[in-house]
């Protein structure tokens, strides 16, 4: 063995020439390592595979011509982007590669941006400068942002786009949830545009809670809000019996009676369930309130609280006072002040009071509260931050109760505590934290929500969008939120509209709900007598609609006040109400309009003019349209409906003036009656 080695040594380094030759060879070999590494690199392998795949396609020459070998790079200094992803993802811009299933060769799906302008990592995260798959896609010790899972991709849209976008339903939903589900009551979020995110929900004040409900109900609610109403917004704080006992004791002791609420029952609640159900239906309570039916389905809207078990919750005298005028107890409530008669109040309160669940309070037995319990309850109310959401007399709303979330989307992974078994990435952390907040350690206060997996995904998406980049964007890239309107009508009519809570359903000048039509141009649109009649007794315009305007029992004075205001103030500058007459159109014009209606434009697909033959019920019924709308409005509507009401489903048909006039003549002649008699001068 030793001899062999010696002879090998002799052969290689025996004399200086040999040694020089061998050392040179070794030296050259080591020099070759660097180019060889480059030659065998991953990206070169993928580029070869791409060329091989392309070779057999019919569009081979085009694809080959577009191909550039070597490391490719998108460099965008103002975004801090150096993306070499296109070195392997060779076919991103090739529209013909949609049928390719193997990555990295598929074309990029259609998006509104160009790859050259935004690069890849702005949306997908990951390490752009890397030239190996694992370094680019996974988190490494030097780079902790791995590729963003596809389900959160809309968060990257939200870095620049601060308002809702039509193409990002998940991001929009997430932002709505953050505002609506109470997240921002505790967590401060300073938005990139300098404002602070506002909550859109309105948790009730607890200063007079003893007027409304019993301590037993508060106890059961605190223990499990979803046991009372599955749709309850309030999350579960996982309180033990003693905590719930003491908090309920404090809230009751702290509550002060409100004038008008503690009035004795002036009307005996009626026990006629049929009359109650019919009044509940006529008043369209279900437009806002949901009730769980026998099959377990929620029937009704989500503006107001669920009423399935409301009889177990509210005290009869409070309910009657509330039905008489909800604004006495809660001046900012979304509920309308119906002008119910005393007998209606009795009927409706009896009907609602019968909606009970005997199991809910069956096991709640509370002794009279001791001063210690009340004091302890007060401490707990401060500890759990109840006053972040609810107004509680004597307790100040805590500042910065929970960690600020303004830049949560850039939080370093090293600062996070992960649960065993979960992936060590920021999106997984956020999603798990929302799903089971108390699992992350003892003594944590964040309550348990009942979000669906889809809601958790959208919340995570919205949170990931608030990151360092969203706060440091070049101003040219930031897309601002459309400014929010806080429009309030003035004067007596304005007060009346607030009292009736018109804005809970109707949108006016950009402010209000989306359940009912936009009334911004109502004064240009309708005829005064129709509006007066409608406010007195709202009928329905759309046969298929389940949410309708309720009857408020308005007095004649109130109706006149509202009508005058609407007719005067809500006018569109481009529609002159009196520019076209309501009558006096020639028979020929009306006939031409009729032909257009049933022929060229086939309006009967969506509207009904003749109740015998027309069936369409997407748009409003037009049998009486001649006594409802102004001719000028109909004409402008025919010309361009979206200009008058953005987003309306009525298509813009680009009619000629003559056609629009003829259709106006035909429609304005529909004043009721089966065949739509033609009104003549």
């Amino acid at each position: 063995m030793k001899e062999k080695l010696a002879s090998l040594w002799q052969r290689l380094f025996g004399d200086s020439v040999r040694a020089f030759g061998v050392v040179s060879l070794i030296f050259m070999g080591s020099l070759a390592i660097a180019p060889a590494k480059n030659f065998f690199s991953e990206w070169r392998h993928y580029q070869h595979a791409y060329l091989k795949m392309v070779r057999n396609r019919s569009d081979a020459t085009t694809l080959q011509r577009h191909f550039h070998g070597g490391i490719q790079q998108i460099w965008l200094p103002e975004l801090g982007v150096v993306d070499r992803c296109t070195s392997c993802h060779v076919g991103l811009k090739e529209a013909s590669l949609t049928d390719v299933a193997v990555q990295p060769f598929r074309e990029h799906p259609v998006i509104p941006h160009k790859l050259d302008q935004f690069g890849c990592t702005v949306c997908h995260r990951g390490q752009g400068a890397a030239t190996t798959v694992s370094e680019a896609h996974n988190s490494t010790l030097a780079w902790e942002q791995p590729i963003l899972p596809a389900k959160y991709i809309e968060s990257s849209c939200g870095e620049c786009h601060r308002g809702p976008l039509p193409g990002t339903p998940q991001l929009n939903q997430g932002r709505n949830l953050l505002a609506r589900e109470g997240c921002v009551h505790c967590h401060t979020v300073k938005l990139p545009d300098g404002t602070t995110m506002k909550a859109t929900d309105d948790p009730p004040s607890l200063s007079h809670v003893a007027d409304k409900t019993t301590r037993e109900w508060v106890f059961a609610w605190l223990k499990d809000p979803q046991a009372y109403a599955t749709t309850a917004t309030m999350p579960n704080f996982k309180l033990n019996d003693d905590e719930a006992r003491d908090i309920s004791a404090f809230l009751m002791a702290n509550s002060t009676p409100l004038q008008g609420d503690t009035a004795i029952l002036s009307a005996k609640p009626s026990t006629d369930p049929a009359a109650g159900a019919s009044l509940y239906g006529e008043s369209f309570c279900a437009s806002c309130h949901a009730v769980q039916n026998a099959a377990g389905n929620m029937v009704g809207g989500t503006v107001g609280p669920e009423l399935t078990k409301v009889g177990t919750k509210v005290k009869p005298q409070w309910l009657q006072a509330w039905l008489r005028n909800p604004r006495m107890y809660d001046p900012s409530t979304a509920m309308s002040h119906y002008r119910f008669t005393e007998s209606q109040v009795a009927t409706l309160s009896g009907f609602l009071q019968a909606k009970t669940d005997s199991d809910l309070l069956a096991n709640v037995h509370l002794q009279a509260a001791t001063p210690e319990q009340i004091a302890h309850g007060k401490r707990l109310v401060s500890d759990y931050g109840c006053a972040s959401c609810h107004e509680i007399a004597g307790i100040k709303k805590p500042e910065n109760f929970a960690p600020e979330l303004s830049r949560i989307g850039s939080k370093p992974v090293t600062q996070l505590v992960f649960l065993p078994g979960m992936q060590h990435t920021l999106p997984d952390y956020i999603a798990t934290k929302i799903k089971q907040p108390r699992a992350f350690g003892q003594g944590l206060k964040m309550p348990q929500y009942t979000f669906t997996p889809a809601q958790i995904d959208s919340l995570t998406t919205a949170l990931l969008a608030w990151n360092d980049r969203s706060h440091s964007l070049p101003a040219s890239l930031a897309v601002a939120v459309p400014s929010e309107s806080d429009y309030q009508p003035a004067g007596k009519a304005g007060k009346l509209m607030t009292d009736l809570a018109c804005f809970s359903c109707h949108l006016i000048n950009g402010h209000g709900g989306d359940m009912a039509p936009d009334l911004t141009w109502e004064g240009s649109s309708v005829q005064r007598p129709w509006l007066v009649e409608f406010l007195k007794n709202p009928g329905t315009l759309r046969p298929a609609l389940i949410r309708r305007m309720p009857r408020f029992n308005l007095t004649d004075d109130e109706v006149n006040e509202l009508t005058d205001y609407i007719m005067t103030v809500y006018q569109n500058p481009s529609v002159d109400r009196d520019a076209m007459p309501l009558t006096g159109y020639s028979q020929g014009q009306v006939e031409f309009g009729k032909q257009l209606f049933y022929g060229k434009y086939s309006c009967q697909g969506c509207h009904i003019v003749d109740t015998k033959s027309d069936k369409g019920y997407i748009g409003p019924t037009l049998t009486h349209v001649g006594s409802r709308l102004t001719a000028a409005w109909i004409y402008q509507w025919m010309k361009n409906p979206q200009a008058l009401r953005p987003g309306t489903a009525e298509p813009n048909r680009a009619m000629s003036d003559e056609e629009a006039r003829a259709l106006t003549a035909f429609l304005i002649s529909q004043k009721g009656g089966v065949n739509g008699e033609v009104a003549k001068k």
């Binding site: 799906p109 959160y152 039509p166 339903p169 069936k615 813009n652």
Partner: protein, 276 residues
């Protein structure tokens, strides 16, 4: 010994993390004896961890108490959702025996292309012979083939193939436009919130899932019908012209949505993502 190793690896790794921004490579920061020990300890940890995961995989495996002869879909097929998002409804499959009666306690396993997740990925059938699983689709738009399988008595497997549709950005835009402008007439199904106008129309529109008809219409013709109305191609005037209401890219988005949901799939629908 193993526990000792784990703690040391932990400390070493933490040490790296703290220094990594300064130096990039963590091995440099470790002293020589630690480096030699590091490899051994890492190896031991890997062995330990893999042994653990192997064990836990075994302990959570479900033991079927029965086996059926066939597996059928109860509901949940042919749904669409955005890429990466959960399908609106879960997939429900049922295991039956030779007579067609439901079999409780049979093991059903779900599998699909990488990126598709199931909750749960395998389960025993309940008392009515059914298994329900929530599905999130993968990150690329297109069709996904999901396979639900169960063992039959002879220890062979029977498979059920279910297709679901993942919508990309353009199709999601199209779906929104469909909801706003098209669906009331083109979808015959009514819901509580949205009553269909389909039955009121003398000439019935084509539901967008009607692949047999719609696949034969070219993109250009579809765009013409949407933009210029039914009369543009000698079809019913009940289909209005949307060209002044929708932009060109809106129309493209709608077409991509129609192509995505058509059944049978359109020729341009792209590949189907399946397990291998």
């Amino acid at each position: 010994m193993i526990r000792f190793g784990c703690t040391h690896v932990g400390i070493a790794a933490r040490g790296c993390r703290a220094e990594r921004f300064r130096d990039g490579k963590c091995a440099v920061m470790l002293s020589r004896p630690m480096r030699s020990g590091f490899g051994v300890l890492a190896l031991l940890t890997t062995v330990f961890v893999s042994a653990c995961s192997h064990q836990s995989a075994n302990s959570t495996a479900l033991k079927p108490t029965a086996s059926g002869a066939a597996i059928v879909e109860s509901s949940g097929g042919k749904q669409s959702a955005q890429t990466g998002s959960p399908l609106p409804q879960p997939i429900v499959v049922q295991v039956n025996d030779e007579q067609g009666t439901a079999v409780p306690g049979a093991l059903v396993e779900f599998s699909a292309a990488p990126g598709v997740t199931f909750d749960p990925a395998s389960a025993l059938t309940d008392s009515s012979g059914q298994v329900t699983t929530s599905v999130s689709l993968g990150g690329t738009a297109g069709r996904y083939r999901i396979v639900a399988s169960t063992s039959i008595k002879s220890h062979q497997k029977v498979e059920l193939k279910i297709e679901e549709i993942a919508l990309g950005y353009q199709q999601t835009l199209g779906r929104r436009l469909n909801d706003q402008y098209c669906e009331r007439c083109h979808n015959p199904e009514s819901t509580v919130e949205r009553v269909s106008n389909y039955d009121n129309l003398e000439i019935k529109p084509h539901p967008f899932t009607e692949g047999d008809t719609l696949n034969r219409i070219s993109d250009a013709d579809l765009a013409a019908i949407i933009s210029h109305g039914g009369t543009a191609l000698n079809k019913s005037a009940l289909m209005p012209a949307w060209g002044n209401t929708l932009s060109k890219s809106d129309v493209q988005a709608l077409i991509s949505y129609i192509r995505a949901v058509s059944d049978p799939p359109s020729s341009g629908a792209g590949p189907i993502y399946a397990k291998d």
